[in-house]
């Protein structure tokens, strides 16, 4: 894979190749493959236990696949420890919100810039000139993101006291602070009401367009996935069931069977 190909956008930004995950005797993922292209919103759907979150955790290196490979811009991510995933441009949110509950919104988002910055404890303790400059840079970036996601009013509030919907937005802000190329969203619509889901869908599209990101959306909420995804991958029992445009996947008899059951 050459740089030229990458620039043309032919090569996938992220490629999942034949990934299997086995826990003891249970096969959580069985030879799943798909590609993510730059600028796309890819929806990953499937009933409970289909392996969506398992795949998600492979991407953020919390699980090690038993076989297969995951390539980011052509290079395997499986040799990297979990804390070195953010720096290659993979950012994520968590299913049930995993913020730093005792920190303010500002500090939560500041931590998001960790992978893009460097410092050492001696200069930090002495607050040297370079540390002041770095803090100024971080603050500028963080305030831009808080503006973007309309979180300015709660900037100094400790996150544990915020409503769930706001916490989800803070988590998104924290992920954006690292300037990821790919944004992994684990059930962002969970716990939101109808209207909030609609707003969220617009927001995800806006982030993709304005901040030039590629989005992997793991979601139960079929309406959201079908309305914003360009491409959908359906999983069931750890296998890929169907892949294609939202309309194709929705019409796929295997998908219908997995969701609604069949007569026999």
């Amino acid at each position: 894979m050459t740089q030229a190909q990458l620039a043309q956008g032919n090569a996938p930004l992220l490629a999942v190749r034949d990934v299997s995950v086995v826990f003891g005797g249970i096969i959580a993922l069985n030879g799943v493959s798909f590609d993510m292209h730059k600028g796309a919103i890819l929806g990953l759907i499937g009933p409970n236990g289909a392996g969506k979150t398992t795949l998600f955790n492979c991407l953020s290196r919390l699980y090690q696949p038993s076989s297969g490979d995951i390539l980011m811009e052509g290079a395997s991510i499986l040799t990297r420890p979990p804390h070195r995933i953010a720096e290659i441009g993979i950012g994520r949110t968590f299913q049930n919100v995993a913020l730093f509950p005792n920190l303010s919104v500002l500090d939560n988002v500041r931590v998001g810039t960790h992978s893009r910055t460097t410092s050492d404890i001696v200069s930090d303790s002495l607050k040297l000139g370079k540390v002041r400059r770095l803090e100024a840079e971080i603050n500028k970036k963080v305030h831009e993101i808080l503006d973007y996601l309309d979180l300015n009013d709660v900037a100094h509030t400790v996150v544990s006291g915020l409503p769930f919907g706001t916490q989800k937005r803070v988590e998104l802000a924290r992920a954006l602070a690292a300037d990821p190329k790919i944004l992994l969203l684990d059930e962002p619509a969970g716990g939101l009401n109808h209207e909030e889901v609609h707003v969220l869908g617009d927001l995800i599209k806006r982030i993709r367009d304005e901040r030039h990101m590629t989005v992997l959306l793991v979601e139960h909420h079929m309406g959201l996935v079908m309305s914003i995804a360009d491409h959908v991958v359906a999983l069931n029992f750890g296998r890929k069931l169907a892949e294609g445009t939202p309309a194709q996947v929705q019409a796929d008899p295997d998908v219908i069977k997995a969701y609604l059951g069949s007569k026999d």
Binding site: R84, A86, R92, L99, F100, N102, L103, I121
Partner: protein
């Protein structure tokens, strides 16, 4: 000592209080500083010595606060780091004739290394298991210091006598008073550096780990590195406190650094408010003065009286001095409005 704000990290008992309200303001800091400078001028030497010990223990409590309040790791082994710092200073001064002030950075660096190395195996442990592992360290330390192998340097069971330094440049103040102001300068320096650290990228990494390790790691925080760094920093500051303690007490001996000291420091942290750095001095005052008060109340039952006092504090203000400070601030705020 401007910014104490945000050094306070833990969720307070009262929720949804704006962050500014949880801090020691600029004015309050200056008042505390002024008191620390002026009061010793009018005290007898013995009380000045006690205030010196107050600052020294406050440093040790602060160090534990960075570890527990900052990075969320427990330690009942701080007495071991304190002992290593004390012996480093004592040995350098008495065996090698090094100036007392120069022994402190050495004690700090050696203890940083010691803490950093101890942090490596401790990575596999968390919560009460980590507390137990550090407890083992505290129990082992006094006996290690008594080993015949080190006796030439450590003085074995007898310990080492340390010469008290005179005030420099022929300043007309007593040794005790000089040592107090020297300790005060060191303490303020370390306090400011600690506040800076907790408010920096590294400090945020500590707190991120404390709050959610998996999320911290997903943000690119090297959890293992920052956990061991927190141990190193905490041990380093405790080492400086130990060195100062050796100089102030003029004596080091293995039995001065038992698990009792480690538990006292832990107690000081809880009474001062976990994660609230200014509380360290309040916690230190508690562990130094309250046992004396208990003894005044009843000589025979001083332990029991101390227990009751401690119980009252924990029962009435579980978040320690920080909670008292917050309530006071809220009441002041209400008074201003009316």
């Amino acid at each position: 000592m401007s910014a104490v704000e945000e050094a306070a990290n833990e969720a307070p008992a009262v929720e949804a209080v704006p962050k500014r309200a949880m801090t020691l303001g600029y004015g309050t800091s200056l008042v505390v500083l002024a008191l620390l400078i002026i009061v010793p001028m009018f005290l007898k030497n013995f009380f000045v010595f006690q205030l010196t010990m107050l600052l020294i223990y406050a440093l040790a409590v602060l160090a534990l606060n960075i570890l527990t309040g900052g990075s969320g790791q427990f330690s009942l082994g701080q007495s071991a780091f304190y002992a290593v710092g004390a012996y480093t200073s004592a040995i350098l001064m008495e065996h090698m004739g090094v100036n007392y002030a120069l022994t402190l950075p050495v004690a700090g660096i050696i203890c940083f290394g010691f803490g950093f190395l101890f942090g490596q195996p401790a990575l596999r442990l968390s919560g009460i298991y980590l507390a137990l592992a550090t407890f083992a360290l505290a129990v082992a330390m006094p006996q290690l210091l008594k080993l015949g192998f080190f006796e030439h340097w450590t003085g074995g069971v007898q310990g080492l006598v340390v010469t008290k330094p005179d005030a420099p440049f022929g300043l007309p103040i007593s040794q005790d008073r000089w040592l107090y102001y020297f300790t005060l300068v060191v303490s303020i320096g370390i306090y400011i550096a600690s506040v800076n650290l907790l408010k920096s990228r590294s400090g945020r990494a500590f707190m991120a780990i404390r709050d959610n390790e998996i999320a911290a790691s997903a943000m690119g925080v090297d959890v293992a590195l920052y956990k061991t760094l927190a141990f190193g920093v905490s041990a380093g500051i405790t080492g400086v406190a130990g060195g100062l303690g050796a100089i102030a007490v003029q004596f080091v001996a293995p039995d001065g650094y038992t698990i009792t000291l480690a538990i006292s420091l832990f107690l000081g942290m809880v009474v001062g408010g976990v994660g609230w750095l200014p509380g360290s001095i309040v916690g230190s005052a508690f562990i130094i003065f309250v046992p004396n008060i208990a003894e005044h109340i009843s000589k025979g039952l001083s332990g029991a009286v101390f227990g009751v006092l401690l119980f009252l504090v924990i029962f009435l203000v579980p978040h320690g001095a920080r909670q008292v400070a917050m309530v006071a601030q809220q009441m002041l705020g209400k008074l201003k409005k009316n």
